[in-house]
Every structure is written in structure tokens, then in C-alpha cells.
Amino acid sequence: MRKHYVLHAMTAVGCVACAILLCAAQTSFFPHYLNDAILVPDLLLCMCVGIGVFAGRYAHIYGTLFGIFAGILADGTAGCGIFLLPLLYVLCAYGAYVCADLFPKRKFTVYLSFGAVASVLRVIVAILYVLLSGGSVPIPDVVRYVCIPLFFGTSIALLPLFPASWILTLPVRKIKHQNIDKFT
């Protein structure tokens, strides 16, 4: 029983550290290199989807809590003052959990396909930010400079972030395996 607490604590600490590092990287490190490549990946969204898919039976708990925390960090650090990302991340994490639960044997496929769906939702939220912040930005410019880089950046970032989310959720998956062993 005590081992379970340790594994939960490991996952929780890992999630917090991961959110902070990805947020800092997203705002201070990647723009420096990826702006030339015209890609704007939302790493925290990829991680939310990853946790939602791979954290097993605890995915909805860790996914949604990670979503709230990551959303506050992302909007607080690099947002315009409107906080919509906590809501988006929670919905994406839980949606990923539901899809993974419906197709338990195709988790990687679910991760990639739902990640692409989440990227589309992220693009919609980015457009909402533009509209709510009162900017008179022409729609073609929004599509060219926001929607396309955000969609492709996030979709592409799903692949390199797959190992990270898989490793991060390893401790909680271990709990599940132990319990199954005990019952059988």
C-alpha cells in the first residue's frame, strides 16, 4: 500500500516538473529556434493528451489536474490575460482518456489521432483569443500566422513527446498491473 503512495507521488511530482519545464521551454527556448521553421507547438497540450491516453485507470485524474495546472501556467506566462487554456486542456485530457478507454489496444493510434483533434481545438481557442482580445486582425493573417503553425507544430510535437508522456505515466501504470495481479 505504501508503495502505491510512492508511485502516485512520483507521478504527481513528475507531472508538475514536466509542466513547468515544458512551459518554460515553450516560451523561452523553442520560439528562438522554431519561429524560423514557422512552427508553434503547444507542448503542454501534447502532454495532456499523452497523460490522458497512457496513465491507465488514473488517466482522468492526472490528465485533468495536469490540464488545469498546465493551462494556468501557459496562460499566465505567455497569454494575453484571458484564461481559456485550463478549460481546453481539461477537456482534451479527459477526451483522450475516454478514447483510450474505448480503444484500449490501440493507444498509440488514439494518442496521435486525438492529438490531431486537440490541435484543431487549440487552433479554435487561438482564434477565440484574437476575437476576445479585441484585435482587428484580418482572418487570412490569423490562418497563415497562427492557425497553420499552431496546428502543424502541435501535431508534429506529438511524436517526440510520446516517450516523455509514456515514461511520466509509468509509475501509475505499474499500480494498475499490481492490482490486476492481486485480483487474478
Partner: protein, 289 residues
């Protein structure tokens, strides 16, 4: 249906809704966003670490990836040094002549001194439609809202949000940032503007220039006298294109900003400046007074 009625999901969704609503209220009320400032302060050390990391990586990456470009740049720089040495000699003569002419015209340096705070650029607004910079100085260093931010090359923007140890700068490339300017050579007055597409290309434009303004490519555009946010005479950019605006019978000039916004590392926040006026001497500290 069981997924929608899941208690954890409902609690998390409610929590996320509350967070989004409560935190966004600050923005829509137009007051300082305290939660965002706290998050920004907490993230500062991590952003600082990643900024340093990217800087240290920069040197290695440039060395390995741009070897040929570096060689060519080195050759070009050698030629340029030679030219500059010749120009320096001419400039020394011109400085003496210039000083004499200024005394003759009774023109003096308008600003006695700037008091500035040096700040490091820690990050930008994740490359989306916003053109913000995050600096590592805040109210603890005397930074206030609406203070001008410059580099040695020219104007960067102004401080729009401040927390204790950091602040956010709205650059001239943000679509809703405008500055009153004039063309230094001809004295024609206009206002900067940055349509979204131009901002993405790192360009500005000056609008409302008089129809009969004598503008030339390469003219220096500097901040004007109106407004107390920017000291006048700071370089904003150089004209690279002039077009007539048939509807308003004015001219519109495209500017190459003096500052390279993609490569900002160190900036200066003008915390106060002394402006010498013909009759009175006025001290301005940002736009706070």
C-alpha cells in the same frame, strides 16, 4: 453516458471553469492581472534558465551549421572595417563642423539625461499573434507601466504589465501599438502603425504623412514631441518604401525598424528623462506623473 457523469471529470471541469472565469475577469475589467503576474514571477527562474541554455547552444549551433556563412561574413566584415576606418577619419572632421553649426543655430541636445534600467529579454509570447516580450525587471527595479523600452539602436516598445520581478513589453510590431513620429531630415510628422502581415515580416509603416512631404528611401524616422511616453528623437526605423494613399490624400511609408526584434537580448527601460524645453525644464518619469 458514464463518461459524462464521471465525478472526477465534473469536479475538474467545474474547477477549470472557475479558474478560467475568475482569472479572465481581471483582463476584461482592465485591472492588473494579479494571478498572471504571480505565475509569471514564479516561472521567471525557469525561463531564465532556458534563455541561458538557448544562448549557450546558439554559439555551438552557429559554429557547426553556418561555417561557410561565417567565413563569408568574416571577409565582408574585414572589408567593412577598412571602409569604416576611412569613414571615421571623415566623421571626425564632420563632428567638428557639426558642433560649430549647432552652436550657430542655437540647437542643443534636447535631453539632458536618461535614467535607464538594463533588462534581459527572457521570452516572448510563444510566437503566436501577440508581440510581447518578457523582461527580468519589475517594480522592484523601479519599472512602471507605460515606460519606454529601447536598445542602443532604437525604440522597442513600452511596458504594458509589471509584476515584482518581471514585466511585459508590447513591441512596436504589435498591431495596436502606435507612436507619434517625424522624419528627421524633412520634419514631416506621422504615426506608426503595424498591420498584422507587416508585423510578421518585422516591418512597420508610417501613416498620415502629408501629401507634399519630401520623403526619401533611407530617411531616418524618430519619435516625435507629442506624448510623454517616449522621449523625442529616438530612432524608430528607416524608410524603405513610400506609397500614396489615394483615399486620404496622405503618404504612407514602410519602415525597416532600427531594432531587430528577433534577436533581442538586452534592452533598456527608460525610467525617467529630463527634457529641456525652451523656457522651462520638465522632468518626466514614464507616464506615471
Amino acid at each position: 453516458m458514464k463518461y459524462i457523469k464521471n465525478k472526477i471529470f465534473l469536479i475538474s471541469l467545474t474547477l477549470a471553469l472557475c479558474v478560467s472565469t475568475v482569472f479572465s475577469v481581471f483582463y476584461f475589467m482592465g485591472v492588473q492581472n494579479i494571478p498572471a503576474a504571480m505565475v509569471q514571477d514564479a516561472m521567471l527562474p525557469f525561463q531564465n534558465a532556458f534563455t541561458r541554455l538557448s544562448k549557450s547552444l546558439d554559439g555551438y549551433l552557429v559554429y557547426f551549421s553556418n561555417m561557410r556563412a561565417l567565413y563569408e561574413e568574416n571577409q565582408a566584415l574585414k572589408d567593412r572595417v577598412e571602409n569604416l576606418e576611412n569613414q571615421l577619419h571623415d566623421a571626425e572632421l564632420a563632428v567638428g563642423e557639426n558642433a560649430a553649426l549647432r552652436d550657430y543655430l542655437g540647437v542643443r541636445d534636447r535631453y539632458d539625461s536618461f535614467s535607464v534600467v538594463q533588462a534581459q529579454v527572457l521570452g516572448n509570447s510563444d510566437g503566436t499573434y501577440l508581440q510581447y516580450l518578457t523582461l527580468d525587471r519589475g517594480t522592484a527595479s523601479g519599472i512602471r507601466e507605460n515606460m519606454a523600452v529601447i536598445t542602443k539602436n532604437g525604440v522597442v516598445g513600452y511596458v504594458c504589465e509589471v509584476s515584482t520581478n518581471s514585466c511585459r513589453v508590447k513591441t512596436l510590431l504589435q498591431y495596436d501599438t502606435g507612436v507619434g513620429v517625424y522624419v528627421q531630415r524633412s520634419g514631416d510628422v506621422g504615426m506608426t502603425d503595424c498591420p498584422y502581415a507587416m508585423g510578421q515580416k518585422g516591418l512597420l509603416r508610417v501613416v498620415y504623412l502629408p501629401e507634399d512631404a519630401s520623403l526619401q528611401i533611407g530617411d531616418r524616422v524618430v519619435t516625435g514631441d507629442l506624448g510623454d511616453m517616449y522621449p523625442s528623437g529616438l530612432t524608430v526605423g528607416h524608410i524603405i518604401e513610400v506609397m500614396p494613399d489615394v483615399y486620404s490624400r496622405t503618404l504612407t511609408a514602410t519602415l525597416q525598424p532600427a531594432v531587430n526584434f528577433d534577436d533581442l537580448e538586452q534592452v533598456f527601460v527608460i525610467t525617467g528623462f529630463v527634457e529641456k524645453l525652451p523656457d522651462t525644464e520638465q522632468t518626466t518619469e514614464g507616464a506615471q506623473q
